[in-house]
Structures are given as structure tokens and as C-alpha cells.
Symmetry: C3
Subunit: 437 residues, 3 copies
Amino acid sequence: MQVIVLAAGKSSRLAPLADKNLLEFSGKALIEHQIAALKRVKLRDIVVVASKNNLEQMERLLQSYKNVAVVEQKDLDEGMKGGVMAASKLVKHPNIMVLNGNDVFEDELFEKVIKASKEKGVHGVIAGKKMMDYFPGGYLKFTKSGAITDIIEKPGVGKEPSKLVNLVCHVYNDFPTFLKYLKNVKSKRDDKYEVAIDNYIKKGGAKIMAQKYTGTWSTLKYPWHVLQMMNHFLEGQETKISRQADIAKSAIIEGNVFIEKNVRVLPNAVIKGPAYIGEGSIIANNALVRDSMIGRNCVVGYSTEVARSYLNHDVWMHSNYIGDSVIDSNVSFGAGTVLGNLRFDEASIMMKIKKDKVDTDMNKLGAIIGSGSRFGINSSTNPGVRIGRNCFIGGNVLIEKDVEDDKMVLLDQKLKVIKNTQSISIENRNEMKGKVK
Amino acid sequence: MQVIVLAAGKSSRLAPLADKNLLEFSGKALIEHQIAALKRVKLRDIVVVASKNNLEQMERLLQSYKNVAVVEQKDLDEGMKGGVMAASKLVKHPNIMVLNGNDVFEDELFEKVIKASKEKGVHGVIAGKKMMDYFPGGYLKFTKSGAITDIIEKPGVGKEPSKLVNLVCHVYNDFPTFLKYLKNVKSKRDDKYEVAIDNYIKKGGAKIMAQKYTGTWSTLKYPWHVLQMMNHFLEGQETKISRQADIAKSAIIEGNVFIEKNVRVLPNAVIKGPAYIGEGSIIANNALVRDSMIGRNCVVGYSTEVARSYLNHDVWMHSNYIGDSVIDSNVSFGAGTVLGNLRFDEASIMMKIKKDKVDTDMNKLGAIIGSGSRFGINSSTNPGVRIGRNCFIGGNVLIEKDVEDDKMVLLDQKLKVIKNTQSISIENRNEMKGKVK
Amino acid sequence: MQVIVLAAGKSSRLAPLADKNLLEFSGKALIEHQIAALKRVKLRDIVVVASKNNLEQMERLLQSYKNVAVVEQKDLDEGMKGGVMAASKLVKHPNIMVLNGNDVFEDELFEKVIKASKEKGVHGVIAGKKMMDYFPGGYLKFTKSGAITDIIEKPGVGKEPSKLVNLVCHVYNDFPTFLKYLKNVKSKRDDKYEVAIDNYIKKGGAKIMAQKYTGTWSTLKYPWHVLQMMNHFLEGQETKISRQADIAKSAIIEGNVFIEKNVRVLPNAVIKGPAYIGEGSIIANNALVRDSMIGRNCVVGYSTEVARSYLNHDVWMHSNYIGDSVIDSNVSFGAGTVLGNLRFDEASIMMKIKKDKVDTDMNKLGAIIGSGSRFGINSSTNPGVRIGRNCFIGGNVLIEKDVEDDKMVLLDQKLKVIKNTQSISIENRNEMKGKVK
């Protein structure tokens, strides 16, 4: 079986973060985690569909992978149809799995789907995630034997035909036939792929089975989902400290912590698992890292707390508080800078996504920060703000709303400068010093 | 002997702090400390006089105490007279002690006063605190044998009739007779109780003895007196760590420290006595607590110093400096927030009390903070400011003067937002990282 | 041989720092280090030339030194000529060394110069520092045998007559003759001393030898040179902890660290060498000092990092970040105050020196702070700013440009104060507390 991994798209709802497939978790890009998962279940022949914005990086990243090809999807408006069509040129088998690049599942799902696809008379399988609460996705309608009769998009609460929601982990045993249906779809909406499945079932009489899945499912739609994805990888990691890491005697490492090689943990630093520390990073004196992922070549400097946060590679900080935040690569923070993560009223935090305000359903959320940005000293950000790429945020600035890419934000400060006629002798101060204990 | 404890009043000079009798020290409300002290000297029959503002809480707090009754004083304008009259309905003995609820003495005072009241021919005793410097109170004038002939209010420096100042710890051996004098006082001023004593001595020929007292006396008139009261209780406490407290191996606990049950002291935290840590509180990694009282269910978070400060229950902080401050219950601080406690000129700090500026006679004093308030990140307060109850102080705000109850104070910040055309490569930064040691 | 040490001048380019000769390094004023170096090479008869601004302090400082005289140079416009003339009254030998007070060399230089001056037929010696890159100084032109024929001021790149630049470590074997040339110089420029040497060679036929020097040379022209001078003394120091210092068991001291008596290093403090801690100073809990010199009677308070910085005596700080900065005596910092030390673009930092912008050629440089200044809480300074003497910098202020002596700089802050109608129950917060680990 060959796998088509759909990794094209603009990741625009994830702005200002990098392409979602290339975000690194536990030292590997998300797409690499997908490939690794597929290889664990013996799916070794893979076509990754990229797009203009991530093609070059994807090719560079995957060039050393055997049996992994990268193709470009040119017309992104064609959605999944365009992705599958782009990959079809490299398809060599009739058995094909179509997988969404940033949907992360447990291996069990692949095993079940593959097994189900081998049943006699079956033309394909669609994975269905069992949902306890209503989810705005495509619900599977199927017969008693499990054969899908319809996929109903966003049916509304109480109108769900089943508890199973369509996950883009689809198997086709006769891909060339499905491809014909796909080519022939005429629709002006972005659901051409789904219409093709519908036609394949209803007109083509294909027997597509629903495969129930009750395991975890992580995906990256909104920026804060990076924190949930991070937790997924943290939970699954083994506890390990590389022998090539340099851990100070007085450092404290507790719980499920993975430390890569060439990491240095300096005296009195504390790492509380689950946590991941990437290759070459420094956790400096008195720093506290907990429930977080620190990418490679980061510096968590002196007296800095990083709590429940994701740092991509090359992020530098010292004397900061970083809570519940997502920080892309090559970002640094001046001393005293704090990312606020809790509203005064402790209510759920909203984020602007394109033109909408979206409820994150989290009452603790810090900032989302794009690659290449710099923060001055003693600056602050309100909960849930987004700082674009290559932004410079001046000292003492309070960021109260989103900052676009490539902005410099400086304080336009009004000062009173007056003559000072007072001076304080050293003697007075020595008296006070006597009280320092 | 029965004791009337006067605990009515508005505590308005103590605003924004809670009722002074209910402020918790070492895990108990001040009124409970008074009751405990009285019980230690076998005074077990107690009438507490409350007022509208604290009646309900007082009743709830004291309902489980045996032989402790709570009555309400309705007309607060009647002052001490009103308090004693309100209590008189519950008086069952001729022997009565009248005690001010927030005057805290050593047990020795009660013992001496009781003993003196048992002398033959004596109708009552008034405790007199020996003052070395002038104090604006009522000075006792008495004969060689110690019988009081007059109480002179604020005589002025050099005009004191003795060194003894009237403390409200008064004993009457024939309370019904004193009560008649009290009922009959006609005065428009708030000194009716004192006039009744005067009449009782001069017209009634009562022999009221002055009882000299040289021990400690703590009271709560102004907000900063909470710090002195705290020190009183810290000095008197035993050194003890509850077996049900969880103390990290690397935490350092020095000096006279009392730690209640269910406290957690995390790695590398330091507690320097005298200090009290209330039930269920957390002293987090690298925190430093010294010369302070931390109420129950507080969180002194990562990298926070609390020095010479009083925290009532449920106060939360992280990455803060809190010095010489009084913080009521249910208050929290964003990271980076600092309470300033020293003027540039190191002079004595003034506080506004109602319409007056009062010299605190302290050159180190932080903030006085009311219950329910919240501080954003990187905010600051000038020395000696008062923040009311239920205030929200925004990020990066500098509080330069008192804030009334129920205010939200936000920065009206002017920013320059310009295009940023620069970006910094990871390579340049790696060069710098080589220098981190 | 007698030595004339030139220590007159206004140190105006070093403003707001104290007189450069009196700045303390490793517990001694710079002039004391010079005297000590001279004594090590048996040069024990010394005349120090001071000026109005440092005369009194110099006399007080050196009064207990044997064979060290202090004279005043009145006319500072006469430059080196004036200095040598002022000293000449106290000259008792024909053999004289003229040395610049703030040029610090290795002992080897003195030894070589003395030796060279003893060669037969030699009238004097001028030390020449071998420069690999062009330096805007006076280049020595000399014959094959080493006899100087000319000193060419700032010849321009590629036009250097040799690689040796004139260092003010000059020996005269026949000082009275040189003095005659010096007295007779008529020049309106400030190069009278150099002209005298020129005349002495060309008209007087004096044989002045160039003595090559390849060792280290530290001097104090600009404020940031204090950091280089500090490094010079740190590199040369021995590793030693005074027995009269009090070092907490959990403190960590690494590398080349010199700790004077009566120093207290509190629990969990870290000192990373090279570092010097002056007498009576306190390095408090969790503080981190690295690559720095802390003068006497300083307090590096709780949770403070001092990196690559120079502190003169009586500097106080707590919860600060101090990087790459020069701080004169009697200065203090409120909690949360940060000295920024890196531009957003990581470019070399410029400083204003009198009316010019001078490139410091450092991409990390904090602030230069004059004696007697005070910083409020959560204030910040941009890289490379200069704060004058006796300045008060208010809380939350961002210093973006130089501040003159005797200024008070306060925030003229605009706030929005509105009614707050929200309050947060303790119950909601307890839920959150459950997650603190």
C-alpha cells in the first residue's frame, strides 16, 4: 500500500506560526512524525503533497528519506482533490491510503484501517472518530454491517447520524476507479473530494466501510492547538537523559523528561516533566521548565520560568515568565519580559483568527509569537495576543492587541525631567544594610 | 469574672483592609487570639460586642466557642458606652472586665489586673501602659497609693500627670453601680464612657486603682500596624514544621519558622524566620520568604521574594517582589509586579488616612491592598499606596497614589508602530551563544 | 630612578564616572595598582601629579604610602608638559621615568625599559606597543639599532613607519637636560611634551631607544574601557576565598573567584569566575554573579544576575538584571529594574561622548551609571545610555537617552480609571491551584 500524505496549504489560520507540517515536536518536524508512524505499521511508500510555501523546505527535509517522494499541489483552491490528483502521478499501486498531514493518531488506527480494508468485497475504509460531544465535522452514516451510505457535513447538534466523524485516513483498494470519480467531480465548492466519495458509493456502488476509532486525535487548526499537539508528544515520549547531556549536580529533574544530547542544565535549574529539551539547548541557573517542550539550540536563561509552553528552535530568554505560549523559532526576550496568560476575570480567552474572534476555551493562554521576533526588556503581552514574524517590541511596551508581521512597536513615552537636589549618603544606607539577613 | 470584648466599629482608618478583629494572624482571627489569651488566665465567660459590618462573620466564627456570646452594638456613635451597654444585657456577674478587641497584651497584664482588683476596698482597676515618649492618649493621674483621681486626655508633651496611659483593660468589681453612671452620662462627644469613669470616681467615690504595665502592647489603628501586630505574633510563636507538610530536600528553613499542615515547600525555596506559613499554602521553587506571615491557601510562586510582609489567606503571586506590605485575602499578582517600599530620599513614608496625611514613621513601607484585587503583569506601586478592594490593576501600570475600591486602572499607552525591515539570522546569534557559560 | 606618574585631568570623556585614577579595581584604586606595580620592579620613589578635581582624594588615599608624593598640576591646558613640570620640583635624581597613571601594563615592560636605559650611550627609552591593526596614536620611527628618529602622530593606515606605538612609559637618564627642552617648547597645541622629545632628539642629538612591548595594555579613555580594565585585573587575580568570608553550604563558586573578608554568600547563590567580590559585600539568595567585579559593601540581592559588569563600592540591587554595565559607587536599583545590553539588530552600540557619537565596537553594552543615583522599580535602560550622578529614575521609566547629572526622571503616565464590577471568588481560583505542581 502506498500513502498520500496531504501537507499542502497556507496554514493561514495558524499565522504567524510556520507551516504546520514543519513545526518541530520532540526534535522532529510534524511530517517526520507522520512518516515514522506510517513506517511503524509497515507503510513505507509515501507521497507527500506540498505547496509553494513549504515545497522547498519539505524537499530539503525529506531528501534523505527512502521511498518518500514530494510533489507540489499547484492549485490550492482545489483542496483535497487537488492534493490527491497531484500525488496520483506517482501512484504505483491500486491500494492507496489518503492521510491528512497534521492529523496525529495512535498507531492502532492505521492497523485497524488496514485490517478492515483487507476484508472481502470491501472497496475502501474511512476512519471515524467516536465523538461524545458534538463536533462540527462530517458524520458517517452507515448500515448495520458498517458500510457507509452517506457523509453528512455539520449535521447540527442532535441530528448526527452516528457518533463517528470522518477522519482523513482513507483507504482505497481500487484507487484508479476512485480517481476517475475524483476527476469527474464538478463542484464550485471546496468539497470536491467528499463529493467524489459520495458518487463512488452511490453511483459506483463502492463498499466503503466505517472504521470506528476511540484513540487520541490531535490536529493543528488554530495556533493554540500547538499546545495540545505538544502534550500529545510529551505524553507519548520515553523518559531519557542523553549521556552526552551535561547536567549540574544541583539541578533537579523530575517526572517524564527527555533530554537530548549536548543539552546543558546548569546549577539549581529545575525541570518538571512532562518536558522535552532539544539538542544543544541550555537550561540555565535557577530556571524552571515544566510541562513544556524546548526546541533545539534554545537558551532558557537565568531565573526564567517556562510553564506549559512550546518553544521551537533557537528561542532565547532570560529572567522571563513564559506561560501557556507558543513561540516559533529564532525569537528572543529581554530580561523582565512577561507573557500574561490569565485574564483578570479568569474567563476563557478569545483570539482573532482572520476576521473572527474565536473562543479558545482556555482560561490560561499566553502569546503566539512568530519567527524572527525580538522583545525588549520589561515588555509585556496580554493573554491571547499574536505577535507576527520579524517584529521588534520595545522595552516597557505593553502589547494589548495583535501585532502584524514586520512591525517595530516602541513606546512613545512622556517623561517629567526635573532638577534633583537630593542626595543620599552611604552612611544612611549602611544602617539599612545591617538589617539584611 | 465576665469579660466584655469591644469589637464593634467600622475599622475605617484601616481601609481597605477587612475588619480588624477578623484579620487572621498565625491561622486565627485576631478575636480568637483574644479569647485564647483570656482563657489562658481563666477568664472563660466572654461577651463579644460586634457591629453590623462584622456581626455575621463574628457569629459564624465564634459559634463553636463555649461561653462566648456575640451581641450587636447598633448605635456606633455611642462609642465604648454603646458597646458596654449592648453587652450589659448578657452580664451575669458583678465582676466585669472591659477589653478592647484589638489591643493585644502579654498575659501578665491580665494576671496583674485581676490580682489588683481583689485587693480590699477596691472598686476597680485600670491598666496603665508605661510610656517613655509622649503618646496622644489618656494619662492616668493617681495618688501615692495608686488610686486614680483623674484621666487626662492628650495632656501635651511635658504636661503628663504620670507615665501611665490608659489601656482599655478595665475591671469593675461592682459593675451594676458603674453601669448606672454610664447610663446617666450626658455628653455630645464620643467620650461618654470616660466621663462615666470620671463621675464614678469623683461623685461616686469609687476607688479605681492604676495598674502599671511595662510589657508589649500591639494595636490596630492604621493599616501599617498590621505589620507590628504580625511581628508580635511571630515573636511569640513556637518553631514547628507540621508532619503533614511536604518540604523539598533542597528547601532551606532557618530560624523561627512555623509551618502548618498541608503546606508544600518546593525545591530551592528558602524560608528565613521569623515566619509563619498557613495551612495549604505553597512556597514554590526558588521563592524566598523572610520575616513574614503567609496566610492559608496562599501561593508564593516561583522566584518571588516576600520580605517583612503580611498576607491574609488566598493570596497568589509569582515572580514578584513584595516588601513591607499588607495584603488582604483573595489577591493575586501577575509575574514581574513589584511593590516599591523605599523612597528615593529614604525618608519616612506618609499615608493618606481619610483626609489627612499621616507619617508612618517607617522608611520602608510597601502597599496596603484590599481583598479581591488583581494585579496584571509588570505593574508597580509606589511606597505607601493603598489599593482598594476588588480593584484590577492593568499590566505595566505604575500606581502613584491611592486607588479606591472597585476600580479598574489601565494604561492609556501611546505607541509608535513602524515598519521593521531588519531581521537577525540564527547564525549571528549562535556566535553569541558560545559565550554563555 | 624616580617615577613621575601623570594622574591629572578631568576624566571628562569618562563622565559620569569618578576620576579614573581613583576607580577601584579588586579593592584598590587604579593609582594604587600602579604604585604596587612600580614597587614590584623596585621603583619606590614616586611623584604623583594630581589636579584640582582629584587632589584631595589622592592625598588622603596616598598619605600612608612611603616615598610617594602628590603634587598638583594647576594648568591642565599644558597637558603632559604641565604634569612633568609640576613634578620636576620634587625630582631628586637624574634618572626619571614618566608614566601615564591609567595605562596598565605587565611588569615585564618596566623591566625591559629599565634594562634598555642602562645601555651605554643611551639618553632615554620610549616604550612602543606592537600593534597588529592600525591605532590612532604616535608611531615610532627608528634606525636599525633602535634609536628613535621621529614620532609620527596618527600617520594613517598603511603609512605607519613601524608597528610600534608610543606608550607613555618614558625613561630619561639626564632629566635636567630634557627639562630644559621641555621648558623652551613654544607650541599652541597640546603636544608640547612630544615636541620637546622631538627637539631633544633632533637638536640635542639625544639617543632615545625604542623598546618593543608585546604584552597587554589597558587604559581608560572611554567609560566602557572600565570593563576591559576590569577584565585585566580579573585575569591576573589569584583564586582565593577569605577565611573571614561566610559562604553558605549550598552556594556554588566556580572558576577563578576572589572573595574578600566579611563577604557573605547566601544559600543557592552562584559565582562563576572570573569574579571579584569586595570586602563586606553580600551575594544574596539565588543571585548569579559572573565575569564581574563587585566592589566593597555592595548588596547583590535576591534573584539578581550580574554579568560582565563592574560595580564600584556600595552598589545595591535586588531582583535585577545587570549586564555589561559600569556602575559607580553609592547606586541602588529597585526590584525589577533591568539594564538592556543588546540592540534589536545586534549591531555595535554607539555612545555619546561630549558631542560625538563613538562606536564602542561592542554589541553587548549596558548602562554607564554615575555615583549617587537611584533607580525605582521596574525601570529600564536602553543599551549604551549614560545616567549622570545623583539622578533619581522613577518606577516603570524607560531611559532611551543619556541623563545629565542631578536629574529626576519620572513617568508622566496616562491612565484610564473606570469602575470595576467584576469579582472573582476564591472557589474558582482553588480549582486552578490544583494544577500547580
